[in-house]
């Protein structure tokens, strides 16, 4: 019994050395892990909103990197499920992060303890293996901010409506350019613009009437982005309307 108590106390002392600043939540997590009781104080709100900042601050680069890569892989393999899985992942990480850190610390401490070095050297190695990194936290914050920018940029921007002036001008300029290549004049009017369909925010199908001195034609075209950042779009003519 006495030996067991001593072992637990030593483990806590080593964990305190490893953690460095603010070791109490992790010591608490260690005790909870031993009694297999979960308490609300193990929930890590910082980890819920800024997991990368927390993991990099605590120098758990591998776990931080996995958290970074996992949503990317999920988004590639299961693009429709990324929202649900991502939210679940964030919640799960916030709940288990303290235990995760304690497990990580225990593994590192155990490997150093096995090295057979003198106790003072081992303590120093444990201190160096753990601790915190402000630079890591700043890096995590920068990566999080960049994530937000990339995620916002990935939200598809709406193409202009078929009836808008910008679309009318684009069609008119396209027709004039083609007519001039064949030696015709620039007198073109575009009327009766209507939308016939769309593929999400990727493309929009329009029908329109082109009137020239040579006659009137009802045509269809497909609009898509060239560069949404600069509001550049293109209209591809698809022939006569059905």
């Amino acid at each position: 019994m006495d030996g067991e108590v001593r072992a637990i106390r030593d483990e806590e002392a080593l964990l305190r050395i490893f953690v460095g600043r603010n070791p109490e939540p992790f010591v608490h997590a260690l005790r909870s892990g031993k009694t297999t009781k979960w308490s609300g104080s193990l929930f890590n709100p910082v980890c819920l909103f800024f997991p990368l900042v927390w993991f990099f601050y605590r120098r758990m680069f591998f776990y931080g990197a996995v958290l970074m890569v996992a949503p990317i892989i999920i988004a590639v393999l299961f693009p429709n499920a990324i929202g649900t899985i991502g939210t679940g992942l964030s919640g799960a990480v916030a709940v288990i992060s303290s235990w995760l850190y304690v497990t990580y610390a225990q593994n590192r401490i155990a490997s150093i303890e096995r090295s057979g070095q003198p106790e003072s050297v081992r303590d120093e190695l444990i201190r160096k293996a753990g601790g915190t990194s402000v630079a890591g936290a700043v890096f995590g914050a920068v990566v999080t901010a960049a994530w937000v920018v990339v995620a916002l940029a990935a939200i598809p921007k709406s193409l202009p409506a078929c009836t808008s002036d910008a679309v009318r001008d684009t069609i008119r300029n396209g027709v004039i350019e083609q007519r001039q290549q064949h030696g015709f004049d620039a007198s073109v009017t575009v009327t009766d613009l209507t939308e016939t369909g769309h593929d999400g925010q990727r493309s929009r199908s329009c029908e329109f009437t082109i009137s020239t001195p040579q006659g009137t034609n009802r045509l269809q075209g497909e609009m898509s982005w060239v560069n949404p950042a600069t509001d550049q779009f293109k209209m591809q003519f698809k022939g006569p309307a059905h």
């Binding site: 990368l52 990099f56 120098r59 680069f61 591998f62 931080g64 990197a65 996995v66 970074m68 890569v69 990317i72 892989i73 590639v76 393999l77 590192r108 190695l125 160096k128 293996a129 990194s133 630079a135 890591g136 890096f139 920068v142 990566v143 901010a145 960049a146 994530w147 937000v148 920018v149 990339v150 940029a153 950042a229 600069t230």
Partner: protein
């Protein structure tokens, strides 16, 4: 299909990083290398976010040459290499497994590998012609990223080996940025020049690729030279450096890994031969462009396997101390 796309994006950088690690004598701890690889995606996100923000405030001069210059040397070169360098510095200096300055070269290559993998995913996603793009990127972009960053890593290693620290810090950013810019410049200028043109473009389409390939080769030669020099300088500086526990063999593990790499090499070689043969019979150059990178990666896998075999054969009659000295 999406799984294949993911593999096509991720495997080439993995193979090259493993190759650089193997060529380097496996001195860096594997944990350090592969954590660095995963963290490379962070560098990728930072670069992507910054480039996106800059595209909002950027002014388009309208001149294709100026645009190609700023895009290749500033947006792609300087920004991407700065993101990779920051990741390497923060990660490597905080990692307990880093033993020697030379590890920085391999870590830099690993971070760039992760970066290249993320970039590959971005380029291949939602593209119908992704096999062709994957093949080109496997042959040029992934090695380009990794070798450029490895040169920067070598400069970082020099900062720890004394003499001209500020100079080497600056070189750690400037040299990879220059290599990256030189790689991208012909491609960007070429694509601007060919925009709107169709039909048989002849040498106009191939020349930028040849110039970029030359830059990648230069990067590979520089990496190899820098690796040797850093090793030598490190030995001069510190004597025989105590290596990590990862140097401890042993035989079964090395034999197994060597075998796995050789099997990978055989699989890739078979795929390469299949594509090349199909290309000859069907007279489609597109199939050959997929076969060529497969052949390249087959060779890389064989080399990796052979290195492990050679290492195993060399250490067999010697004790561990000899082994450590031999591979320093």
């Amino acid at each position: 299909m999406r799984f294949l796309l993911l593999m096509a994006a991720v495997l080439p950088p993995v193979v090259i990083v493993a190759y650089v690690h193997g060529r380097d004598g496996n001195t860096a701890a594997p944990r350090l290398v592969w954590e660095g690889f995963l963290l490379g995606t962070c560098a990728g996100i930072v670069a992507l976010g910054t480039v996106h923000l800059l595209s909002r405030v950027g002014v388009d001069s309208g001149n294709a040459l100026v645009k190609a210059l700023t895009d290749s040397f500033f947006r792609a070169g300087l920004l991407e290499e700065a993101a990779k360098l920051a990741t390497v510095v923060i990660f490597a200096w905080n990692h307990a497994d880093r033993r020697a300055p030379h590890d920085l070269l391999v870590v830099a290559a690993a971070v760039a590998g992760g970066f290249a993998a993320l970039e590959n995913i971005g380029f291949l996603l939602d593209r119908s012609d992704w096999p062709m793009i994957a093949a080109t990127r496997a042959l040029l972009s992934a090695p380009g990223h990794i070798f450029a960053a490895a040169v920067g890593g070598a400069c970082l290693a020099y900062t720890e080996l004394g003499g001209g620290r500020m100079l080497w810090w600056a070189m750690a950013l400037i040299l990879p940025a220059m290599l990256h810019g030189l790689y991208d410049f012909p491609l960007m200028l070429g694509s601007a020049a060919l925009q709107g043109r169709s039909g048989d473009l002849g040498y106009a389409a191939v020349l930028p690729l040849i110039l970029s390939a030359a830059v990648v080769l230069t990067g590979a030669v520089l990496t190899s030279t820098a690796s040797r020099r850093v090793h030598k300088r490190q030995s001069d500086h510190q004597g025989i450096v105590e290596t990590s526990i990862h140097h401890d063999p042993w035989l079964s593990r090395h034999q197994f890994r060597g075998r796995i790499w050789r099997i990978g090499g055989i699989v890739l070689l078979v795929i390469a031969i299949a594509f090349m043969t199909a290309s000859l019979f069907r007279a489609e150059i597109a199939l050959a462009t997929i076969g060529l990178p497969c052949a390249f990666y087959a060779w890389a896998c064989f080399s990796r396997g052979q290195l492990l075999l050679a290492r195993w054969l060399t250490i067999l009659p010697m004790d561990r101390g000899w082994n450590k000295r031999l591979f320093r």
